[in-house]
């Protein structure tokens, strides 16, 4: 059962990244869109994520619940030492979720109120994945000091370091990239397709650049990143697969593909996550002086893991078909406006 629970945990995180991350990305793209085109981007984006908006963010809840039920040491450890970035991320979640709902459901679409909702939405779309990435980067980079005695070492330097921050930026860029690729498929006319392809190119370059920064930062913070990623066959293969799929992605965009690029983009991001996950497995938090928290040793007792695994299996029997049907039903674009 432990394996089942770990697999669910991995997929919850992955799906949150692929679906929720693309939602963040849509906001990030809006942030970097010229004023004349903002409303077009917004309309396309709204059609794409309106109906599935709530469901996309459920994966985060599922991941958190799995952590605190199944791996309480890990959950408590993260909550204690990464309190500040988690808090910042939560602020982003709140601001973003409410601004998104407010701007769509405000009965009077006033210019100034809409502008306010928009700016809250786009800035929080940037901040949330930034801090999500910072949290993830910190958990895996031996920056957390479980023996820290003073405030700064325990609660600030645990995440406020070059490595974590560059991982945060890399996350933002990936989210934006994912969203741009998804939006290409949603766009209804040539003009928009061109715009989103351009955005995807820029974001791809930005992601490369941030990825490079991550390696540089790893050097300054004495993190053997290259060794982690290239040092074992599975991670290496995953990275190679990710690179190949990036090439295929651009080929298929050049050929005017819409669905295929999405598949390649999702595959590419999944491979990056797999590569990171695999090198560190089974560790979930790697602290200073080799003090790690691992999903294989720091889990709840068998009774709890068994019931949790059963609940997840039974739950997914209900959730997955319904979710597929939701995506399927709103796959075509017309009609979403009826309600507004």
């Amino acid at each position: 059962m432990l394996t089942v629970v770990i697999i669910f945990l991995f997929f919850a995180i992955l799906l949150y990244f692929l679906l929720g991350g693309a939602d963040f990305g849509a906001g990030i793209i809006e942030l970097f869109t010229s004023d004349t085109n903002k409303h077009r981007t917004r309309a396309t984006m709204y059609q794409a994520i309106g109906p599935i908006w709530e469901a996309n963010h459920m994966w985060l809840i599922i991941a958190v619940v799995i952590l605190f039920v199944g791996f309480p040491d890990i959950y408590s450890g993260m909550c204690t030492y990464l309190h500040i970035p988690l808090l910042a991320m939560l602020m982003g979640v709140i601001a973003r979720g409410t601004a998104f709902a407010f701007r769509n459901y405000d009965a009077i679409k006033g210019e100034r109120t809409q502008a306010l909702y928009n700016s809250i939405f786009v800035y929080s779309s940037f901040l949330t994945p930034l801090f999500l990435g910072i949290t993830a980067g910190s958990a895996l980079s031996r920056q957390i000091d479980f023996d820290a005695k003073d405030f700064l070492t325990a609660y600030v330097y645990s995440w406020f370091n070059w490595f974590s921050i560059t991982v945060g930026l890399f996350t933002v860029a990936l989210c934006g990239f994912l969203a741009a690729i998804y939006l290409i498929g949603e766009a209804t006319d040539e003009y928009d397709v061109k715009r989103f392809v351009k955005k995807a190119k820029v974001l791809n370059a930005v992601a490369f650049f941030c990825g490079g920064l991550v390696f540089l930062a790893a050097e300054t913070n004495n993190i053997r990143l290259a060794h982690w990623i290239f040092g074992n066959p599975v991670s290496l293969t995953a990275v190679i697969a990710a690179s190949i799929s990036l090439v295929l992605l651009w080929i298929s965009i050049a050929k005017g593909g819409k669905q295929l690029p999405r598949v390649f983009a999702a595959f590419q991001v999944s491979m990056i996550l797999l590569s990171v996950g695999y090198t560190h497995y089974p560790n979930f938090i790697m602290g200073k002086n080799g003090k790690n928290l691992s999903v294989l040793t720091n889990h709840a007792t068998a009774g709890t893991i068994n019931t949790l695994g059963t609940a997840l299996l039974i739950g997914s029997l209900f959730i997955l078909p319904a979710l597929f049907y939701l995506f399927y039903s709103f796959r075509e674009k017309q009609g979403v406006e009826d309600f507004h």
Binding site: G50, P51, I52, E54, A55, H57, M58, L60, I61, I62, V64, V65, I66, F68, V69, G70, P72, Y75, S76, G77, M78, C79, T80, L86, L87, L90, M91, V93, I94, G97, T98, F100, A101, F102, Y105, D106, A107, I108, F151, A154, A300, T301, G303, T304, T307, L308, A311, L312, I314, G315, F318, I319, L323, L326, S329, F330, G335, V336, D338, F339
Partner: protein, 437 residues
């Protein structure tokens, strides 16, 4: 403000905020489903308008409920890591099932909100019902987690170790049924009265009377029935509290001295130094009767509980008086509504009748917050009754007061924003939905 107090205040603030949205999220879909059903049956467009107007309100509340809930699932760890490290694996079962219920709710909501004119109409209707059903289920599940804190079970506590953990037993702990029942009824009565009150106000102002009358009837029917059942289920809750948490019961009643023919004190100002209640109304024997079903049997008072294990008496007492007092008022209003429906149709359009419900708008939610104050403050100093103290659970990180200020600011702003949006929603009803013949 010290860190411990800040953590407690932040938790209370977040929960007090979340509960309002989650109750609305649980109950409004049920109202919507009724109105939607009437529309499908009668084809009267007013019912369609009511359904759609409500569903926009619900979307706003749902988003706020979802983000504040996401906050809470992190706050448990951010504020109480030493509690979660032990409690998570034990009371996690309802939370994992709740996650499933949320997911289904979010999916069903996507179908419902965007499904007008696109889905088969009965399938569309059913997705609305699913939103309500899974909302209520998640409410019941999370309350079962809370009732575990009041009545811990499903593990053996030996020398500070938590052994033989059984999440299923923990979920069906002794208090879950009475708490979940009382909470679900409270959600219906509070939301029912709040929604009915707003529509009553619009009827009173003679705006879109047909629209608002239909909405009013649906909401108040649920509100009235729930308000009448509430005291019955409250009595059950009190009996459970007396059995498992005598300190809480004694604090609710400000009942200082153990005695036979224990009196029920209504109102009054507890004096914790002199150990008596001033200006209260005493009904001799009633407390014994409520707790034990006979007027004589002794009830355990605060004098038998060590001071370090006692909750804050005045806060618990006042909160309890507010809940029960408002509960009685709402029950009376509910009875008046039922009389109007059965015997006195003419009352419905009378000014005093409408005013009664306009003034009752906030009562349910105030009672709800008061009730949670009773439950949570009454459990202190324990975070897990008789097992772990709240003070031992708090995060070691200093500076929590800043996070508390930040949260207070955010929740305050969000509340204003939601009120602002609802007001605009109501203002637009004539323009969007008025059907001019």
């Amino acid at each position: 403000m010290n860190d411990f107090l800040a953590a407690r205040s932040q938790m209370a603030l977040s929960l007090g905020f979340h509960i309002i949205y989650s109750c609305i999220g649980m109950v409004m879909p049920v109202f919507m489903a009724i109105s939607h059903y009437k529309y499908l049956k009668t084809q009267n467009p007013v019912y369609k308008n009511v359904t759609q107007a409500w569903s926009k309100g619900v979307a706003i509340f749902f988003a706020t409920g979802a983000v504040s809930g996401t906050m809470l699932s992190f706050e448990l760890g951010l504020l109480w890591p030493k509690f979660m490290i032990h409690a998570g694996p034990i009371f996690g079962m309802p939370f994992s099932l709740e996650g499933v219920a949320f997911f289904i709710e979010a999916i069903a909501l996507g179908f419902f909100l965007y499904g007008w004119n696109r889905l088969n109409k009965w399938f569309h209707w059913a997705t609305g019902v699913m939103v309500g059903v899974s909302g209520i289920l998640s409410g019941i599940l999370v309350v079962s987690a809370n009732s575990w804190m009041n009545s811990p079970s499903g593990f053996d506590f030996v020398n500070g170790q938590y052994l033989n953990i059984s999440p299923i037993k923990a979920m069906f702990n002794g208090a879950w049924f009475s708490e979940a029942l009382h909470m679900t009824i409270a959600a219906f009565s509070a939301t029912g009265f709040a929604v009915a009150g707003i529509h009553a106000l619009m009827i009173y102002r003679k705006q879109n009377v047909e629209f608002h009358s239909k909405a009013f009837r649906i909401a108040i029917t649920f509100g009235a029935i729930a308000a009448i059942l509430q005291p019955l289920s409250g009595d059950l809750s009190a009996k459970h509290a007396a059995k498992r948490q005598p300190a809480k019961l004694a604090a609710m009643e400000s009942y200082f001295h153990t005695q036979q023919y224990a009196p029920l004190v209504i109102g009054g100002i507890p004096d914790t130094v002199a150990k008596k209640v001033n200006y209260g109304l005493e009904l001799p024997g009633m407390l014994s009767f409520l707790v034990n079903d006979n007027f004589k049997q002794e009830v355990k008072g605060l004098d038998q509980i060590p001071t370090k294990d006692q909750p804050n008496v005045p806060v618990t007492h006042y909160a309890f008086q507010i809940m029960v007092g408002f509960g009685m008022l709402m029950m009376a209003a509910g009875i008046i509504y039922l009389i109007a429906v059965w015997k006195k149709r003419g009352w419905m359009s009378k000014g005093w009748f409408l005013k009664l419900f306009i003034y009752s708008t906030p009562l349910g939610f105030i009672a709800l917050e008061a009730g949670w104050t009773v439950t949570e403050v009454g459990r202190q100093p324990w975070i897990i009754q008789d097992v772990m103290r709240t003070a031992d659970a708090v995060t070691p990180m200093p500076g929590i007061q800043y996070s508390f200020y930040l949260f207070s600011f955010i929740y305050f702003t969000l509340s204003l924003a939601v009120i602002f949006l609802l007001q605009r929603q109501i203002k637009m009803v004539p323009e969007i939905y008025d059907i001019k013949k």
